[in-house]
Amino acid sequence: MRPTIDEQLDGAIRLLRLAEDIPETTPAVTELVRNARRLVERTAGSWSMALPFLQADNARTAALLGYHDPDSGDLEEATPGTADLAAAVAHNEKLRAALTHRIRGLPDGPDRATIGTHLRARVDADPT
């Protein structure tokens, strides 16, 4: 499948760089093009890693929330076995909302500290 997704994104970055370097361009337009190029670069560098990251994060967050515990009654919240990016994003948002709710109800202590450690590791792992 040519051009590949990466080739198309790399092509867009190259064209935007050319537009940025046109001397007659006003600073305002250059700023717009630069912002667009940075967005495309970020997408190019992360799109292929987004789904595996979300699947792993969903599994870790669900475990942190105890959703894999048969006694918790929350099995319906377990990570769906899907390769669909939109579904993984939606599920991730749902789990992160539940984690937010959990944080608000937790006092100072090891349980909350564990959530903090999880969130810090997630910041480093997030490819997007």
Partner: protein, 337 residues
């Protein structure tokens, strides 16, 4: 602040037309609008420079208009009232001239203030065009300027008519304010920031005194005429609170490049010079809280910016960055190992 850029003639004409009609309705604004141009490069700011030329007079002015979207949503009326009060203070601030509070005349809420001489250099402390001694001198001057903001007699200037004194609960007041901003502006859950809010809420220090807080003190908001400070600008976030809030903002790791000089002026030098200037010791435990809060505030501003970008209200693709999020969490993580 004073750089200008080429702007489409139609946009300049539109602003000129609105400005002309607005100033014509002000009894003390006689004169012609001359040399109108957009300040700063790019489209992310809404500051316009112009001169008002009358019989034998020429007044340099700046029109500051609410952007459609950005990192922060502030009130031009409050900023105008603060600037007007500060005209009687020793601080180098621009004179507030005219206000369009609801944007009926100028399209968006706007204020017009005097334009002071000088140039802005965000990274002046690391600018190799200035010799090291000069940069260290500027670092000391900036520190003294911050102390002079905190020394302002805000009661005597009547600022309590505009700004609320939070009393000893300044830290929790600011934390609650920014937590509200987060929960209003977020387009997705942010457990990282909620975690920081929960920890900071438990550790919030009481403030020892209430002062005028600038809340965005940085070289980028200072105009320099040579090595002399000619203006301290951007009072849109100013409020009453704990002086350590400003000190936390300038000593936070995310701002190191703006406020320190490697090997010559580090955070400890800044704090020591501030202590010498104000004549009291800084409570370092409380300062740590404000440093962590500053990173959190930066992250929440990015959350607001993301919302504005997704809604098409700004061309700046803001988002909470890895650097900011990791700085926030590193400052608040609990250790139970």
């Amino acid at each position: 602040m004073t750089a200008t850029t080429t702007t489409p003639a139609t946009e300049t004409s539109r602003v000129a037309e609105l400005l002309h009609a607005f100033l014509a309705s002000q009894p003390d604004a006689a004169g012609r609008i001359v040399d109108l141009r957009r300040a700063d490069t790019g489209r992310s700011r809404n500051n316009w420079l112009f001169d008002l030329v009358g019989d034998g007079s020429r007044e340099p002015l700046i029109l500051r208009t609410d952007p459609l979207g950005g990192l922060i949503d502030t009130n031009r009326s409050v900023e105008f009232a603060v600037l007007r009060s500060l005209e009687s203070s020793p601080l180098p601030t621009p004179a507030a001239r005219w206000l369009d509070p609801n944007g009926r005349a100028l399209g968006r809420p706007s204020l017009i203030m005097s334009r002071l001489p000088g140039e802005c250099d965000y990274r002046v402390l690391r600018n190799p065009a200035r010799v090291l001694d000069e940069r260290i001198g500027l670092a000391r001057t900036f520190c003294e300027l911050l102390a002079s903001v905190h020394d302002v007699d805000w009661r005597g200037l009547g600022l309590s008519a505009t700004l609320t004194d939070p009393g000893p609960e300044a830290a929790r007041t600011q934390l609650n304010h920014w937590a509200t901003v987060l929960r209003t502006d977020q387009v997705e859950p942010w457990p990282e920031l909620e975690y920081a809010i929960a920890v900071l809420d438990e550790r919030a220090p009481l403030s020892a005194s209430t002062v005028l807080v600038h809340a965005d003190f940085k070289p980028g908001n200072i105009l320099l005429d040579g090595d002399r400070v000619s203006a301290l600008l951007d009072w849109e976030l100013a409020h009453l609170g704990d002086p350590l809030e400003d000190l936390g903002w300038v000593t936070q790791p995310l701002r190191t490049a703006e406020h320190t000089i490697p090997g010559s002026w580090d955070t400890a030098d800044l704090i020591a010079h501030y202590e010498r200037t104000i004549g009291t010791r800084v409570a370092l435990d409380a300062l740590d809280w404000w440093v962590a809060f500053s990173a959190l505030k930066t992250a929440i501003m990015q959350v607001s910016g993301l919302r504005a970008f997704l809604a098409g209200r700004t061309e700046q693709p803001y988002r909470p960055t890895r650097r900011v999020l990791s700085t926030v969490l590193d400052a608040v993580l609990e250790d139970y190992t």
